[in-house]
Amino acid sequence: MLYIKCPHCGWRSQNEFSYGGDATVKRPELGKEVTDQEWDDFVYNRKSLRGKHWELWQHLSGCRQWIKVERDTATHEIFKTLKASEEIS
């Protein structure tokens, strides 16, 4: 069982969260000319890292806020959590 520290509510079990995928994927800027390749990278292509991975989770059965979590995809160790508005350093 993962044990995730919600930046708003504190430590909560994995059961309260739902997953939202890679947090480093950025939508191409609005109004900018977008190539097929850029759109592909945004919609489909993923690095799917083995090791440290920044990802989005939603505290669905809690405060309902989206958060960012840095987790190891091989060991499940969680290093850091951020509010969705905070930048990954």
């Binding site: 069982m1 993962l2 079990s13 994995q14 059961n15 739902s18 997953y19 995928g21 890679d22 097929d36 390749q37 592909d40 990278d41 919609v43 489909y44 292509n45 993923r46 690095k47 799917s48 890292l49 083995r50 991975h53 990802e55 987790r71 995809t73 091989a74 060991t75 499940h76």
Partner: protein
Amino acid sequence: MQKYSIFSLIKNAISNHENWDLAWKDPSPKKEYDVVIIGGGGHGLATAYYLAKEHNITNVAIIEKGWIGGGNVGRNTTIIRSNYMHDDNALFSEFGMDLWRRMSQDLNYNVMFSPRGIINLAHSDAQMNVYARRGNSMRLNGIDAVLLNREQVREIIPMADFSENVRFPIFGGLMQPSAGTARHDAVAWGYARQADSMGVDIIQNCEVTGFDVVGGKIKGVRTSRGDIKVKKIGLCVAGSTNILAEKLNMKLPIETHLLQACVSEPVKPVLDRVVTFGAGHFYISQSDKGEMVMGGDLDGYNSYAQRGNLPTLQHVLTEGIAMMPFLSKLKMLRTWGGIMDMSMDGSPIIDKTHIEGLYLNCGWCYGGFKATPASGWTFAHTIAQDRVHELNAGYNLNRFNTGYLLDEKGLGTKTWIS
């Protein structure tokens, strides 16, 4: 190679089974090969076998980081089916069903193919309509499909919950009578033994550390057991696809996720079909040893762990008990996990790449095991002829760019939603 038969069995019984030949050799890598297959799982072994058998290419090496058959071919729930609606999936899978039916004879190895039939349960009128549509599509593609009503399902699987006050009553189901199961390890070992006998080198404990790409062409592969010169490489590494893609500076529409399975303690024969729950994601069959073999949802987040967490297992087994209440009385014997190469439309990729001589076989999601022979056959064709076969033309990498997705389930790009 020693042929397995009743006579070889008797002969070896007399010498206390101490003189059987090794099923495959343990060679050191040569300096150069015509083709290198990376990944000694079911698909990689099958690819090497069909390269040798169908295309007479025998200067081939299979490179495996661990031991052959130790990944998903040794971790699945052994279900074989072709109950797909879209033409590309249906024709590919049905081609595979033909190979499954002949496999034990072809490989001279008993893979214990058991065409016991699969039943997908329906729990609403709407779902019955969807299954009728899928069944009709299957029959148009020459695949057997039977739509069962509630009473017909009850006759086949009376142990399911047919009581009145249940959350998901059984309305009926769609059955593919020719679907079934097979002994998963035997599939890997059978392909390995035959490939080896035709001259393929099976090299275990050999990790790929890098690639030599010059001018957009494959020149070689670097491994923990030395560099190998080669012009064609087939990548068959399932959940590790992204790790190797990164070494090639490729980004793929693949995420690696964890899928768990489990078996109960062995019990007397009770279930002679494969059954899936229609109001969630749960599938079950009974092994020849009597264990109930069960599986369901992904754990739901990127993972390379090859072991699962309890919440998903609880969720999956709750569905199982809702479908067949007697399961609550059984003790769990083992649980395990494997890492799935989840593609962004739920369908696999067997294709050439922008690098000349690099061929890609990945994105099998939940359905890798049943596809083993057809995947190996079409991938061998793609590598040998340097062009895709019509059977795997729909499994191209380009579809994510053009928008011609093969979205059998229509789930979109959230691969963790299952």
